[in-house]
Symmetry: C2
Subunit: 205 residues, 2 copies
Amino acid sequence: MENENQPAKTGYHHGNLKAALVDAADAILRDRGIEGFSLREAARRAGVSIGAPAHHFGSATGLLTEVALLGYDSLGEALNAVPSSDDPAADLRSLALAYVRFALAHPGRFRLMFRPDLVNRDDPRYAEVSARALTGFAQAIMRRDGASTDTMADVFVVWSSIHGMANLVLDGKAKYMFGGVTADAFANDILPKLLADAWPFGRMA
Amino acid sequence: MENENQPAKTGYHHGNLKAALVDAADAILRDRGIEGFSLREAARRAGVSIGAPAHHFGSATGLLTEVALLGYDSLGEALNAVPSSDDPAADLRSLALAYVRFALAHPGRFRLMFRPDLVNRDDPRYAEVSARALTGFAQAIMRRDGASTDTMADVFVVWSSIHGMANLVLDGKAKYMFGGVTADAFANDILPKLLADAWPFGRMA
DNA sequence: TCTGCTATCTGAACGGCGATAAGATAAGCG
DNA sequence: CGCTTATCTTATCGCCGTTCAGATAGCAGA
Protein backbone atom coordinates (compact mmCIF):
# COMPACT_ATOMS: atom_id res chain seq x y z
CA MET A 1 0.00 0.00 0.00
CA GLU A 2 2.86 2.39 0.76
CA ASN A 3 4.79 3.90 -2.09
CA GLU A 4 8.51 3.65 -1.62
CA ASN A 5 8.61 7.13 -3.14
CA GLN A 6 12.17 6.99 -4.36
CA PRO A 7 14.42 8.80 -4.39
CA ALA A 8 14.66 8.84 -0.63
CA LYS A 9 15.89 11.89 1.21
CA THR A 10 19.49 12.51 0.26
CA GLY A 11 20.26 15.76 2.05
CA TYR A 12 18.81 19.19 1.95
CA HIS A 13 16.36 18.36 -0.81
CA HIS A 14 14.12 15.37 -0.32
CA GLY A 15 13.31 14.71 -3.93
CA ASN A 16 9.83 13.30 -3.50
CA LEU A 17 8.54 14.96 -0.39
CA LYS A 18 4.97 15.43 -1.50
CA ALA A 19 4.34 11.71 -1.95
CA ALA A 20 6.35 10.91 1.18
CA LEU A 21 4.18 13.23 3.26
CA VAL A 22 0.98 11.70 1.91
CA ASP A 23 2.30 8.26 2.82
CA ALA A 24 3.33 9.49 6.26
CA ALA A 25 -0.07 11.03 6.89
CA ASP A 26 -1.83 7.84 5.82
CA ALA A 27 0.44 5.88 8.14
CA ILE A 28 -0.46 8.17 11.04
CA LEU A 29 -4.15 7.59 10.36
CA ARG A 30 -3.46 3.87 10.44
CA ASP A 31 -1.36 3.97 13.61
CA ARG A 32 -3.05 6.62 15.69
CA GLY A 33 -6.30 7.53 14.00
CA ILE A 34 -7.53 10.86 12.76
CA GLU A 35 -7.19 12.53 16.15
CA GLY A 36 -3.56 11.46 16.36
CA PHE A 37 -2.67 13.22 13.14
CA SER A 38 -0.53 16.33 13.13
CA LEU A 39 1.34 18.11 10.39
CA ARG A 40 4.48 18.10 12.51
CA GLU A 41 4.30 14.35 13.05
CA ALA A 42 3.94 13.82 9.31
CA ALA A 43 7.02 15.97 8.74
CA ARG A 44 8.90 14.02 11.39
CA ARG A 45 8.04 10.69 9.76
CA ALA A 46 9.15 11.99 6.39
CA GLY A 47 12.40 13.20 7.95
CA VAL A 48 11.99 16.87 7.13
CA SER A 49 11.53 20.05 9.14
CA ILE A 50 8.21 21.21 10.47
CA GLY A 51 7.88 23.95 7.89
CA ALA A 52 8.42 21.78 4.85
CA PRO A 53 4.83 20.53 4.36
CA ALA A 54 3.51 24.07 4.02
CA HIS A 55 5.32 24.55 0.73
CA HIS A 56 3.62 21.53 -0.86
CA PHE A 57 0.19 21.60 0.76
CA GLY A 58 -0.27 25.02 2.28
CA SER A 59 -2.05 23.68 5.35
CA ALA A 60 -3.00 20.52 7.20
CA THR A 61 -6.26 20.43 5.26
CA GLY A 62 -4.30 20.42 2.02
CA LEU A 63 -2.38 17.31 3.00
CA LEU A 64 -5.41 15.55 4.47
CA THR A 65 -7.37 16.27 1.30
CA GLU A 66 -4.82 14.27 -0.67
CA VAL A 67 -5.17 11.38 1.77
CA ALA A 68 -8.96 11.57 1.59
CA LEU A 69 -8.84 11.41 -2.22
CA LEU A 70 -6.73 8.27 -1.96
CA GLY A 71 -9.25 6.98 0.54
CA TYR A 72 -12.12 7.37 -1.91
CA ASP A 73 -10.01 5.62 -4.53
CA SER A 74 -9.37 2.68 -2.24
CA LEU A 75 -13.03 2.50 -1.22
CA GLY A 76 -13.98 2.49 -4.90
CA GLU A 77 -11.53 -0.33 -5.53
CA ALA A 78 -12.93 -2.36 -2.66
CA LEU A 79 -16.49 -1.92 -3.91
CA ASN A 80 -15.65 -2.49 -7.56
CA ALA A 81 -13.88 -5.70 -6.63
CA VAL A 82 -17.27 -7.10 -5.63
CA PRO A 83 -18.50 -9.13 -8.64
CA SER A 84 -21.92 -8.60 -10.13
CA SER A 85 -24.22 -11.59 -10.36
CA ASP A 86 -27.72 -12.14 -11.72
CA ASP A 87 -29.07 -11.52 -8.20
CA PRO A 88 -28.89 -7.77 -7.59
CA ALA A 89 -30.18 -8.14 -4.03
CA ALA A 90 -27.34 -10.53 -3.22
CA ASP A 91 -24.93 -8.09 -4.89
CA LEU A 92 -26.22 -5.36 -2.62
CA ARG A 93 -25.55 -7.50 0.43
CA SER A 94 -22.01 -8.13 -0.81
CA LEU A 95 -21.46 -4.42 -1.41
CA ALA A 96 -22.74 -3.56 2.05
CA LEU A 97 -20.38 -6.11 3.55
CA ALA A 98 -17.45 -4.70 1.58
CA TYR A 99 -18.32 -1.15 2.61
CA VAL A 100 -18.45 -1.92 6.31
CA ARG A 101 -15.34 -4.06 6.11
CA PHE A 102 -13.50 -1.19 4.44
CA ALA A 103 -14.53 1.14 7.25
CA LEU A 104 -13.36 -1.33 9.89
CA ALA A 105 -10.10 -2.08 8.10
CA HIS A 106 -9.26 1.60 7.52
CA PRO A 107 -11.05 3.55 10.23
CA GLY A 108 -8.75 6.56 10.04
CA ARG A 109 -9.13 6.92 6.30
CA PHE A 110 -12.84 6.29 6.45
CA ARG A 111 -13.51 8.87 9.10
CA LEU A 112 -11.35 11.45 7.34
CA MET A 113 -13.27 10.99 4.10
CA PHE A 114 -16.44 12.26 5.77
CA ARG A 115 -14.93 15.18 7.66
CA PRO A 116 -15.90 18.39 5.87
CA ASP A 117 -13.66 20.44 8.15
CA LEU A 118 -10.53 18.46 7.24
CA VAL A 119 -11.09 17.84 3.55
CA ASN A 120 -11.29 20.51 0.87
CA ARG A 121 -14.35 19.44 -1.08
CA ASP A 122 -13.82 22.26 -3.55
CA ASP A 123 -10.83 20.39 -4.88
CA PRO A 124 -11.73 19.63 -8.50
CA ARG A 125 -10.84 15.97 -8.02
CA TYR A 126 -13.16 15.50 -5.06
CA ALA A 127 -16.49 15.29 -6.87
CA GLU A 128 -15.11 12.88 -9.42
CA VAL A 129 -13.39 10.47 -7.07
CA SER A 130 -16.15 10.44 -4.45
CA ALA A 131 -18.83 9.83 -7.06
CA ARG A 132 -16.86 7.06 -8.72
CA ALA A 133 -16.54 5.24 -5.42
CA LEU A 134 -20.29 4.73 -5.33
CA THR A 135 -21.10 4.09 -9.01
CA GLY A 136 -21.07 0.30 -8.83
CA PHE A 137 -23.16 0.60 -5.73
CA ALA A 138 -25.75 2.83 -7.44
CA GLN A 139 -25.85 0.49 -10.43
CA ALA A 140 -26.67 -2.47 -8.21
CA ILE A 141 -29.58 -0.54 -6.75
CA MET A 142 -30.86 0.31 -10.23
CA ARG A 143 -30.57 -3.33 -11.28
CA ARG A 144 -32.63 -4.29 -8.25
CA ASP A 145 -35.25 -1.59 -8.66
CA GLY A 146 -35.81 -1.71 -12.38
CA ALA A 147 -37.57 1.52 -13.42
CA SER A 148 -37.86 3.27 -10.06
CA THR A 149 -39.69 6.51 -9.54
CA ASP A 150 -36.75 8.05 -7.65
CA THR A 151 -33.44 6.27 -7.94
CA MET A 152 -31.56 8.97 -6.07
CA ALA A 153 -33.82 8.56 -3.06
CA ASP A 154 -33.24 4.81 -3.15
CA VAL A 155 -29.48 5.26 -3.33
CA PHE A 156 -29.54 7.67 -0.43
CA VAL A 157 -31.64 5.36 1.72
CA VAL A 158 -29.53 2.28 1.04
CA TRP A 159 -26.28 4.19 1.45
CA SER A 160 -27.53 5.64 4.73
CA SER A 161 -28.28 2.19 6.05
CA ILE A 162 -24.81 0.90 5.22
CA HIS A 163 -23.05 4.06 6.30
CA GLY A 164 -24.95 4.04 9.57
CA MET A 165 -23.88 0.48 10.31
CA ALA A 166 -20.26 1.37 9.61
CA ASN A 167 -20.40 4.43 11.85
CA LEU A 168 -22.17 2.75 14.73
CA VAL A 169 -19.65 -0.08 14.75
CA LEU A 170 -16.68 2.27 14.39
CA ASP A 171 -17.96 4.41 17.24
CA GLY A 172 -18.28 1.40 19.47
CA LYS A 173 -22.07 1.42 19.62
CA ALA A 174 -22.53 -2.11 18.30
CA LYS A 175 -20.61 -3.51 21.24
CA TYR A 176 -23.48 -2.65 23.54
CA MET A 177 -25.93 -4.49 21.29
CA PHE A 178 -24.05 -7.65 20.42
CA GLY A 179 -22.32 -8.56 23.65
CA GLY A 180 -18.99 -6.77 23.48
CA VAL A 181 -18.02 -8.42 20.22
CA THR A 182 -14.84 -7.32 18.44
CA ALA A 183 -14.88 -5.50 15.13
CA ASP A 184 -13.51 -8.56 13.35
CA ALA A 185 -16.12 -10.88 14.82
CA PHE A 186 -18.82 -8.40 13.87
CA ALA A 187 -17.64 -8.12 10.28
CA ASN A 188 -17.09 -11.85 9.79
CA ASP A 189 -19.85 -13.48 11.83
CA ILE A 190 -22.64 -11.11 12.83
CA LEU A 191 -22.85 -8.77 9.87
CA PRO A 192 -23.32 -11.40 7.11
CA LYS A 193 -26.20 -12.97 9.06
CA LEU A 194 -27.65 -9.54 9.75
CA LEU A 195 -27.58 -8.62 6.08
CA ALA A 196 -29.19 -11.88 5.07
CA ASP A 197 -31.93 -11.95 7.73
CA ALA A 198 -32.73 -8.46 9.03
CA TRP A 199 -31.63 -6.17 6.20
CA PRO A 200 -34.55 -5.33 3.90
CA PHE A 201 -32.36 -3.93 1.13
CA GLY A 202 -30.90 -7.38 0.52
CA ARG A 203 -34.26 -8.56 -0.75
CA MET A 204 -35.84 -7.88 -4.11
CA ALA A 205 -37.81 -4.64 -4.27
CA MET B 1 -32.25 25.55 27.49
CA GLU B 2 -29.50 27.38 29.37
CA ASN B 3 -29.50 27.35 33.13
CA GLU B 4 -29.06 30.75 34.63
CA ASN B 5 -26.90 28.97 37.18
CA GLN B 6 -27.29 31.50 39.94
CA PRO B 7 -25.52 32.73 41.87
CA ALA B 8 -23.40 34.39 39.21
CA LYS B 9 -19.72 35.02 39.71
CA THR B 10 -19.23 37.37 42.60
CA GLY B 11 -15.47 37.52 42.95
CA TYR B 12 -12.81 34.99 43.58
CA HIS B 13 -15.29 32.16 44.00
CA HIS B 14 -17.79 31.63 41.23
CA GLY B 15 -20.39 29.79 43.24
CA ASN B 16 -21.75 27.54 40.52
CA LEU B 17 -18.86 27.06 38.18
CA LYS B 18 -19.51 23.44 37.31
CA ALA B 19 -22.95 24.11 35.84
CA ALA B 20 -21.71 27.33 34.24
CA LEU B 21 -18.91 25.46 32.46
CA VAL B 22 -21.30 22.81 31.16
CA ASP B 23 -23.53 25.54 29.81
CA ALA B 24 -20.56 27.33 28.28
CA ALA B 25 -19.34 24.15 26.62
CA ASP B 26 -22.77 23.43 25.21
CA ALA B 27 -22.92 26.99 23.88
CA ILE B 28 -19.56 26.55 22.17
CA LEU B 29 -20.84 23.38 20.50
CA ARG B 30 -23.83 25.37 19.30
CA ASP B 31 -21.81 28.35 18.08
CA ARG B 32 -18.68 26.77 16.70
CA GLY B 33 -19.20 23.04 16.60
CA ILE B 34 -17.24 20.28 18.22
CA GLU B 35 -13.98 21.28 16.53
CA GLY B 36 -14.31 24.81 17.88
CA PHE B 37 -14.45 23.62 21.47
CA SER B 38 -11.61 24.25 23.86
CA LEU B 39 -11.37 24.07 27.61
CA ARG B 40 -9.86 27.56 27.66
CA GLU B 41 -12.74 29.01 25.67
CA ALA B 42 -15.23 27.43 28.06
CA ALA B 43 -13.34 28.99 30.97
CA ARG B 44 -13.34 32.35 29.20
CA ARG B 45 -17.10 32.22 28.63
CA ALA B 46 -17.70 31.33 32.26
CA GLY B 47 -15.48 34.25 33.32
CA VAL B 48 -12.86 32.23 35.16
CA SER B 49 -9.20 31.47 34.66
CA ILE B 50 -7.95 28.74 32.37
CA GLY B 51 -7.01 26.45 35.19
CA ALA B 52 -10.38 26.49 36.93
CA PRO B 53 -12.13 23.75 34.91
CA ALA B 54 -9.51 21.18 35.85
CA HIS B 55 -10.63 21.22 39.46
CA HIS B 56 -14.20 20.27 38.56
CA PHE B 57 -13.71 18.00 35.56
CA GLY B 58 -10.09 16.93 35.53
CA SER B 59 -9.80 17.15 31.77
CA ALA B 60 -11.57 18.28 28.63
CA THR B 61 -13.07 14.81 28.31
CA GLY B 62 -14.56 15.17 31.78
CA LEU B 63 -16.41 18.33 30.82
CA LEU B 64 -17.46 17.03 27.41
CA THR B 65 -18.79 13.86 29.01
CA GLU B 66 -21.21 15.96 31.05
CA VAL B 67 -22.37 17.71 27.89
CA ALA B 68 -22.77 14.40 26.08
CA LEU B 69 -24.90 13.04 28.91
CA LEU B 70 -27.15 16.08 28.61
CA GLY B 71 -27.19 15.44 24.87
CA TYR B 72 -28.51 11.92 25.35
CA ASP B 73 -31.12 13.29 27.71
CA SER B 74 -32.30 15.84 25.18
CA LEU B 75 -32.35 13.25 22.38
CA GLY B 76 -34.41 10.99 24.60
CA GLU B 77 -36.83 13.83 25.28
CA ALA B 78 -37.15 14.56 21.58
CA LEU B 79 -37.89 10.93 20.79
CA ASN B 80 -40.20 10.38 23.74
CA ALA B 81 -42.19 13.44 22.68
CA VAL B 82 -43.25 11.52 19.58
CA PRO B 83 -46.69 10.06 20.37
CA SER B 84 -47.45 6.39 19.87
CA SER B 85 -50.35 5.48 17.64
CA ASP B 86 -51.96 2.25 16.54
CA ASP B 87 -49.75 2.28 13.44
CA PRO B 88 -46.23 1.27 14.59
CA ALA B 89 -44.80 1.76 11.10
CA ALA B 90 -46.01 5.35 11.07
CA ASP B 91 -44.59 5.79 14.55
CA LEU B 92 -41.25 4.59 13.26
CA ARG B 93 -41.32 7.17 10.50
CA SER B 94 -42.09 9.88 13.05
CA LEU B 95 -39.24 8.70 15.27
CA ALA B 96 -36.83 8.70 12.35
CA LEU B 97 -37.89 12.23 11.46
CA ALA B 98 -37.41 13.36 15.07
CA TYR B 99 -33.97 11.72 15.25
CA VAL B 100 -32.66 13.37 12.10
CA ARG B 101 -34.18 16.70 13.07
CA PHE B 102 -32.46 16.50 16.44
CA ALA B 103 -29.13 15.89 14.72
CA LEU B 104 -29.66 18.84 12.38
CA ALA B 105 -30.85 21.13 15.16
CA HIS B 106 -27.98 20.22 17.52
CA PRO B 107 -25.11 19.08 15.31
CA GLY B 108 -22.41 19.79 17.87
CA ARG B 109 -24.15 17.85 20.61
CA PHE B 110 -25.05 15.04 18.28
CA ARG B 111 -21.54 14.56 16.97
CA LEU B 112 -20.08 14.73 20.46
CA MET B 113 -22.41 11.98 21.66
CA PHE B 114 -20.83 9.53 19.25
CA ARG B 115 -17.20 10.48 19.81
CA PRO B 116 -15.60 7.73 21.92
CA ASP B 117 -12.39 9.76 22.23
CA LEU B 118 -14.16 12.76 23.79
CA VAL B 119 -16.72 11.04 26.00
CA ASN B 120 -15.94 8.82 28.96
CA ARG B 121 -18.24 5.86 28.35
CA ASP B 122 -17.13 4.28 31.60
CA ASP B 123 -19.05 6.95 33.44
CA PRO B 124 -21.73 5.06 35.36
CA ARG B 125 -24.44 7.35 34.01
CA TYR B 126 -23.51 6.75 30.38
CA ALA B 127 -25.04 3.32 29.85
CA GLU B 128 -28.27 4.35 31.53
CA VAL B 129 -28.83 7.63 29.74
CA SER B 130 -27.79 6.39 26.30
CA ALA B 131 -30.00 3.33 26.58
CA ARG B 132 -32.98 5.34 27.76
CA ALA B 133 -32.70 7.61 24.74
CA LEU B 134 -33.53 4.68 22.47
CA THR B 135 -36.10 2.78 24.51
CA GLY B 136 -39.17 4.29 22.89
CA PHE B 137 -37.55 3.67 19.58
CA ALA B 138 -36.89 0.00 20.36
CA GLN B 139 -40.45 -0.41 21.61
CA ALA B 140 -41.85 0.90 18.34
CA ILE B 141 -39.80 -1.67 16.47
CA MET B 142 -41.10 -4.43 18.72
CA ARG B 143 -44.69 -3.27 18.20
CA ARG B 144 -44.13 -3.42 14.46
CA ASP B 145 -42.38 -6.77 14.45
CA GLY B 146 -44.53 -8.70 16.87
CA ALA B 147 -42.61 -11.80 17.96
CA SER B 148 -39.39 -11.34 16.03
CA THR B 149 -36.58 -13.87 15.93
CA ASP B 150 -33.95 -11.25 16.71
CA THR B 151 -35.20 -7.94 18.00
CA MET B 152 -31.72 -6.62 18.70
CA ALA B 153 -30.73 -7.15 15.08
CA ASP B 154 -33.85 -5.29 13.96
CA VAL B 155 -33.12 -2.39 16.28
CA PHE B 156 -29.56 -2.19 15.05
CA VAL B 157 -30.60 -2.21 11.40
CA VAL B 158 -33.28 0.44 11.81
CA TRP B 159 -31.08 2.60 14.00
CA SER B 160 -28.26 2.31 11.47
CA SER B 161 -30.53 3.50 8.72
CA ILE B 162 -31.66 6.56 10.66
CA HIS B 163 -28.21 7.28 12.07
CA GLY B 164 -26.71 7.00 8.60
CA MET B 165 -29.15 9.53 7.19
CA ALA B 166 -28.36 11.95 9.99
CA ASN B 167 -24.62 11.57 9.48
CA LEU B 168 -24.69 11.87 5.71
CA VAL B 169 -26.75 15.04 5.90
CA LEU B 170 -24.64 16.50 8.71
CA ASP B 171 -21.47 15.78 6.76
CA GLY B 172 -22.83 17.54 3.71
CA LYS B 173 -23.18 14.41 1.60
CA ALA B 174 -26.90 14.81 0.92
CA LYS B 175 -26.27 18.12 -0.82
CA TYR B 176 -24.66 16.31 -3.71
CA MET B 177 -27.69 14.05 -4.08
CA PHE B 178 -30.57 16.46 -3.67
CA GLY B 179 -29.39 19.55 -5.51
CA GLY B 180 -27.60 21.61 -2.90
CA VAL B 181 -30.61 21.73 -0.62
CA THR B 182 -30.26 23.28 2.84
CA ALA B 183 -30.52 21.23 6.02
CA ASP B 184 -33.88 22.81 6.86
CA ALA B 185 -35.33 22.08 3.45
CA PHE B 186 -34.09 18.52 3.70
CA ALA B 187 -35.64 17.98 7.12
CA ASN B 188 -38.96 19.62 6.27
CA ASP B 189 -39.56 18.73 2.63
CA ILE B 190 -37.37 15.92 1.36
CA LEU B 191 -37.03 13.68 4.39
CA PRO B 192 -40.76 13.17 5.13
CA LYS B 193 -41.37 12.13 1.52
CA LEU B 194 -38.31 9.92 1.60
CA LEU B 195 -39.49 8.16 4.74
CA ALA B 196 -42.95 7.62 3.32
CA ASP B 197 -41.90 6.43 -0.14
CA ALA B 198 -38.40 4.96 -0.14
CA TRP B 199 -37.86 3.90 3.46
CA PRO B 200 -38.72 0.23 3.95
CA PHE B 201 -38.77 0.41 7.75
CA GLY B 202 -41.81 2.66 7.61
CA ARG B 203 -43.88 -0.22 6.29
CA MET B 204 -45.30 -3.14 8.25
CA ALA B 205 -42.91 -6.06 8.60
C1' DT C 1 31.81 25.21 -17.02
C1' DC C 2 29.85 29.21 -15.13
C1' DT C 3 25.83 32.14 -13.87
C1' DG C 4 21.56 33.25 -12.42
C1' DC C 5 16.84 31.72 -11.48
C1' DT C 6 13.70 29.23 -8.98
C1' DA C 7 11.90 25.44 -6.37
C1' DT C 8 12.71 23.39 -2.16
C1' DC C 9 13.73 23.05 2.61
C1' DT C 10 15.36 24.96 7.35
C1' DG C 11 14.85 27.33 11.64
C1' DA C 12 12.86 30.66 14.48
C1' DA C 13 8.90 32.96 15.96
C1' DC C 14 3.87 33.72 17.34
C1' DG C 15 -0.32 32.61 19.51
C1' DG C 16 -3.39 28.91 21.12
C1' DC C 17 -4.01 24.52 23.15
C1' DG C 18 -4.39 20.74 27.43
C1' DA C 19 -2.34 19.52 31.52
C1' DT C 20 -0.03 20.21 35.93
C1' DA C 21 1.31 22.18 40.27
C1' DA C 22 2.18 25.75 43.67
C1' DG C 23 0.03 29.37 45.81
C1' DA C 24 -3.84 32.75 46.84
C1' DT C 25 -8.54 33.27 48.43
C1' DA C 26 -12.70 32.61 50.83
C1' DA C 27 -16.40 29.66 52.38
C1' DG C 28 -17.87 26.72 56.04
C1' DC C 29 -17.72 24.89 60.44
C1' DG C 30 -16.12 23.85 65.01
C1' DC D 1 -12.50 33.59 66.09
C1' DG D 2 -9.47 30.33 63.92
C1' DC D 3 -8.77 26.20 61.38
C1' DT D 4 -9.76 23.26 57.55
C1' DT D 5 -10.93 22.61 53.04
C1' DA D 6 -12.83 23.63 48.62
C1' DT D 7 -12.24 26.76 45.06
C1' DC D 8 -9.82 29.59 41.86
C1' DT D 9 -5.41 32.03 39.93
C1' DT D 10 -1.08 32.04 37.91
C1' DA D 11 2.95 30.23 35.89
C1' DT D 12 4.99 26.65 33.36
C1' DC D 13 5.64 22.82 30.12
C1' DG D 14 5.40 20.63 25.72
C1' DC D 15 2.52 20.20 22.04
C1' DC D 16 0.15 22.23 17.86
C1' DG D 17 -0.60 25.07 12.94
C1' DT D 18 0.97 28.83 10.56
C1' DT D 19 4.16 32.29 8.77
C1' DC D 20 8.42 34.10 7.03
C1' DA D 21 13.23 35.25 6.26
C1' DG D 22 17.02 32.87 4.78
C1' DA D 23 19.83 28.78 3.36
C1' DT D 24 20.43 25.27 -0.19
C1' DA D 25 20.65 23.08 -4.49
C1' DG D 26 18.54 21.61 -8.82
C1' DC D 27 18.50 23.33 -13.44
C1' DA D 28 18.24 26.03 -17.73
C1' DG D 29 20.81 28.99 -20.63
C1' DA D 30 25.07 31.18 -22.04
